[in-house]
């Protein structure tokens, strides 16, 4: 194996190591930030509970969002960089949140 190729492997190991190290430290930093500045947890939890939709509501939301998604799916071709970044997660993330509620609910049930 040529020395250049060997150098490449060294760079690969060093490089991936550094990238993991950097993002690993970032994980720790994010956890630390979260611990230090978490919004009053109990309040948030309680509010969350009280705001949790009923089973019927979840069904309604899911149906509505599913149809929204389908339409978005069709448009996905022209939703590249521009619009995607402009809109943020958009309907997708709403759907995600809605469905997850539903998942959590069904698990508990």
């Amino acid at each position: 194996m040529g020395s250049t190729l060997w150098q490449g492997l060294v760079i690969t190991v060093t490089g991936m190591g550094l990238v993991f190290l950097a993002l690993g430290i970032l994980v720790l930093a994010m956890i630390a930030l979260d611990r230090l500045f978490r919004p009053k947890a109990e309040e948030a939890l309680e509010t969350g509970a009280s705001e949790e939709p009923s089973a019927e509501e979840v069904v309604a939301i899911t149906v509505a969002l599913a149809s929204l998604l389908t339409r978005e799916e069709a448009r996905v071709g022209d939703r590249q960089l521009g619009s995607a970044l402009r809109d943020g997660p958009g309907a997708w993330s709403i759907v995600g949140r809605g469905q997850h509620l539903s998942v959590r609910k069904s698990r508990r049930a």
Binding site: G8, F20, L23, R38
Partner: protein
């Protein structure tokens, strides 16, 4: 004299070379992909136009461009593309300005809600290094190999930035390859995801607990991320700091005017200039050779390796976490945003419509944005 004049005036047609004609067709194909196939039109349309214009003979529009790329003395009269290259590519200004806009558009919320997802954004950079080794094996010198590898960052401005420093002559094919494969994410990723995961893994549900993230955390995150990255890998500082400056403008809540200007005015105008100028570097002699074919093939490998490494790393995490992590979200850990997250989400839904991975995939995807910038800085640190 009259005959001479007419002869002069037909010079345009007569002096058109075979290579220039082919490059104009390449430009036309890019425009076609942008308009008809919606492949990253914001960039590929201006790049395609720039390619055509730079290959029209005798227009003088590229005067000074080659000299800038080769660090030779400049001609007295610069053409439009020479002017733009000097104004924003050679000094790396344009890609950095784009990053301010990207940062102002990015919501790191899903990542902050689930910090460990950040590691997916590290694994997803493996394609950069794998492709570099492959390029070395094929015979590219080290700096060019690393520049080709950066296609695996799946990030246009990072590719342009790194290429400008390491191998300016490869900037155009590397950038075009990066944007093309970013557009092809919905086609490239699913086969790899199917191959490397079991049906059981793909059906793992990850309950989404929308933990509130405090405003303080959101504001401190870009500052902390900049500090850590820049101290660890100083040469990643320009890229990561501009990304995080944009995000700080957004999250601070006190300078909405500036955040909006970064997202709109600044990004749009710079995007036109950046695309045109990258396209203008697509000369026949730099593009029509075996290198370009190699670049596109190796770039394809880079994307596949990104996806594979992300998936395998997520499988490892899943084992360690007792089966609570769907390995598919590992495939979202690259920079191409938000397509990567959406592709993963939809792929999981094909197995089980009730499985919603989107928010987790979004977290991994934004981590991929940070990871790709970090990897770009690492490559520069190790090679520049």
């Amino acid at each position: 004299m009259n005959g001479e004049l007419w002869g002069d005036l037909l010079r345009g047609f007569l002096s058109l070379t075979w290579g220039e004609g082919v490059m104009m067709m390449v430009g036309g194909i890019l425009i076609y992909l942008a308009i008809v196939k919606h492949y990253e039109p914001m960039l590929l349309l201006p790049i395609g136009v720039g390619t055509i214009l730079a290959n029209l003979p005798l227009t003088g529009m590229t005067a000074g461009l080659r000299e800038l790329q080769l660090h030779q003395p400049l001609p007295k009269e610069m053409g439009l593309f020479g002017v733009l290259y000097q104004a924003g590519i050679q000094n790396e200004l344009f890609p950095l300005l784009i990053f301010v806009g990207v940062g102002a558009m990015t919501d790191f919320g899903p990542l902050l809600e689930n910090p460990r997802l950040a590691l997916m954004g590290a694994a997803g950079q493996f394609g950069i290094f794998g492709a570099m080794v492959l390029a070395l094996a094929v015979g590219f010198p080290l700096k060019e190999a690393a520049t080709i590898g950066i296609i695996g960052a799946a990030d246009g401005p990072t590719a342009i930035y790194v290429a400008t420093v390491l191998a300016p002559s490869l900037m155009a094919p590397v950038t075009v390859a990066a944007y093309s494969y970013m557009s092809l994410v919905p086609i490239l990723k699913p086969p790899v995801m199917r191959l490397l995961t079991t049906k059981a893994e793909r059906r793992i549900k990850m309950p989404y607990t929308s933990r509130p993230v405090s405003k303080t955390t959101r504001i401190l995150f870009p500052v902390v991320a900049t500090l850590l990255s820049a101290l660890l890998v100083p040469l990643s500082a320009p890229l990561i700091s501009m990304l995080m400056l944009g995000n700080l403008l957004r999250e601070s809540g006190v300078v909405d005017r500036l955040a909006e200007a970064a997202q709109n005015e600044l990004t749009n105008v710079v995007t036109i200039f950046l695309g045109l100028t990258v396209g203008a570097t697509m000369s026949a002699e730099s593009f029509l050779n075996w290198k370009t074919i190699a670049i596109f093939l190796i770039g394809l490998v880079a994307f596949v390796l990104d996806t594979a490494a992300g998936l395998l790393f997520a499988k490892l995490m899943n084992v360690l976490a007792g089966g609570t992590i769907n390995p598919l979200i590992g495939a979202a850990g690259i920079s191409a945003f938000p397509m990567s997250a959406r592709v993963v989400h939809r792929f999981a839904q094909e197995e089980d419509f009730s499985n919603f991975l989107l928010m987790h995939a979004m977290g991994a995807n934004t981590a991929g944005q940070i990871g790709s910038v970090m990897a770009g800085g690492v490559v520069l640190a190790l090679l520049a």
